[in-house]
Amino acid sequence: MRVKVYITPRRGVLDPQGRAIEASLKSLGFNDVGPVRMGKYIELEVAAASPAQASAEVRRMCEQLLANTVIEDYRFEVEDA
């Protein structure tokens, strides 16, 4: 099953990359741009019996490794292909 994981900086945590991108976009003339947040996007495959099982597995991956929950939030989608 195909999984997409989105990791974003937690609200309140500084996001210097997002801020830098925002500033660059503005300097390029994209004046109508609002707050930019920069995160990570991970695509992976898991072999699982059911989407529910895959979800449980991916949640554990996120908690253990993919995200640092002190500073990051995560969410993911499992696509049953």
């Binding site: 500033a23 660059s24 300097s27 390029l28």
Partner: protein
Amino acid sequence: MSHNPVALPGEPEVNLAQALAHGLSEDEFRLIRNHLGRTPTFTELGVFSVMWSEHCSYKSSRRHLARLPNKGRLVVGGPGENAGALDVGDGWLAVFKIESHNHPSFVEPYQGAATGVGGILRDIFAMGARPVASLNSLKFGSFDNARTRYLLSGVVGGIGGYGNCVGVPTVGGEVMFDAAYDDNILVNAFCLGLARKGELQSARAQGMGNPVLYVGSATGRDGIHGASLLASAEFDASSAHKRPTVQVGDPFTEKLLIEACLEAIKTGAVVALQDMGAAGLTSSSAEMAARGKLGIEINLDQVPLREPNLTPYEMLLSESQERMLIVAQAGREHELQAVFEKWDLHAVVIGRITGDCRWRVSWRGLLVADIPVAALAEQAPAYERPMARAAACTPPVRVVRERPAPAEALRRLLDSPNVGSKRWVYRQYDSIVQSNTVMEPGGDAAVLRIKGTRRALALAVDSNPRACALDPYLGAMAVTLEAARNVACVGARPIGITDCLNYGNPERPEIMWQFARGVDGIRDAALALETPVVSGNVSFYNETQGRAIPPTPTLAMVGMLADLDYCRSQFFRRPGDAILLLRTSAPALAASEYDALFGGGNRLGAIDLHKERELIDLLVTLAEKGLINSAHDVSDGGLAVALAECCFNEAGKFGASVEVGTPELDTVVNLFGEGASSVILSTPSDAAARVVQMATGRGLGCRRIGTVTSDPVLRIDSDIAIEVAELRTIYEQALPGRIQGHG
């Protein structure tokens, strides 16, 4: 296996048109058929096209490079090996080389520069030397060009991103901005390693039947049809189509490779080791076989692949990074495999050494290539290309624009990105890892100690394309001398050179002439200094739509300090010290930064090699005798800038008060001219007379021009009196101001 290699299903037919499309000439195609006694297969054609490319075969430069002196008392290995090696005493060898990664860095600055660093590191540890220091020489277009900032940040980020992650300190370099590089930037990377005497690793295949091992990253489609070919032709509208899959560096894997290879060498089971650089598996296997006058057989089914369905053509031409090829002692491959496993790398046997001098490749039970090894190596074409003195080399008429007052000119010069501090660049490099960096970036040369000894090495890299554009011979000579002087200013005796020769399209007679003159200039200077050229690299086709870069030979000089105590920096150390000016000849505005800003330049001054050599020898002697407290050579911006730089001491806040005016010289030329070999010394006041005497005894101009002051103001004649703090701010802001000023 059938006798002749077979065409694979779906492969294009091989004919002249196909050969031309591969960048080979009609003659070369004919030559290939002669070598084989038949038409090559498509796979073989690909193999020839990369092995006979300018980038891999040095076909235009080989004959000229033979003129460079490469012998000497200290030389242990020279051209032909992966890098040069010098005996630096106490049982240590210094192994070093410089290489270009210009074209890839223009296409993708971060990855291009990063993989450039990765490639030069592999050349060094392939010799059994632990890489201990990197330098880089960078040329970008002007800041008026919108792409310059992007290229600069990308290249610097890539060098740091890779170098910092593998734990090799980047200890110095140079950066220049000039519109002449708008469409062709230069990224030259240097690496130096240390090996124990008697423990150099060879890259020469030996022993029929010995297994050939592949280690490192799996092979993907990176760089196929591109990296070497791209560097072997001009950029033009069609370059975009030739664009290969860009190579992405993986410094983490490189770090593991360094450790694993050095450990593998220690087992004694490695017969030959070489990195898979340009033309990857093809060139590494063919070159190792050629050096040993042996043959090699490769089974592509064993090659680790990153993606499925690579064709033999792609596997052979891939330039995936972080891969090495090993010839091992038969029966000991498991020992080596165990070492690589320890470092989480895999080593797989993909072939063996044969006695028949053929390069033979099989895949899925089919023979896909069968070529005499010599045809891929020493019998590759070498050309004596036509040469013609370049018209462009008559000095351009410089319109003299405004002539600011000297104080204002000094400010403007310090604010030039070519003169101002490069801290913005080197701050992004780890320059202290490995705990050897005695002199960090920011001085005339970097100094590295050799642990366990009193010795140290000094490293500097220099180029001067403006002088080379005016006179490719004198310019190349001046560059060599400047590199030697930079090393001597920190107290080291220059001992060896590696050079990276960046030029335009060698098929144009003027370019070929520039190149040949450049080689002569380096040769004459190297002979005078007795500093052999032990390794190097040529980069041609730095040219876009007929517009070539100025001739840019880049010289890296290695110097040796017999004792760390001899080490001197450029900074004034004590108020009351005498300031001395050593000069071999009169400066000139030609090719100076002043000329670039305000005009006025004309022709380069002559060079007296005897005096130059005396100057270098004097500097080393003065340092060894402890007669001087600081030394700084005058380069970009001229004397006034150099004096200011001597005052930019972190620790103390000093100034200088000097009288430099002389009746023979125009003030502007005196203060801002370049070209002459000049060095600013500071000595204890009571030693000044003795130093002047030693210099004049050698026929060198030397006089006391003033005193280091505790008052932090730079005073030059009646022309300049400016607070050092103000000068320093201008100097430090020159680069960041331009980079941040535009987001």
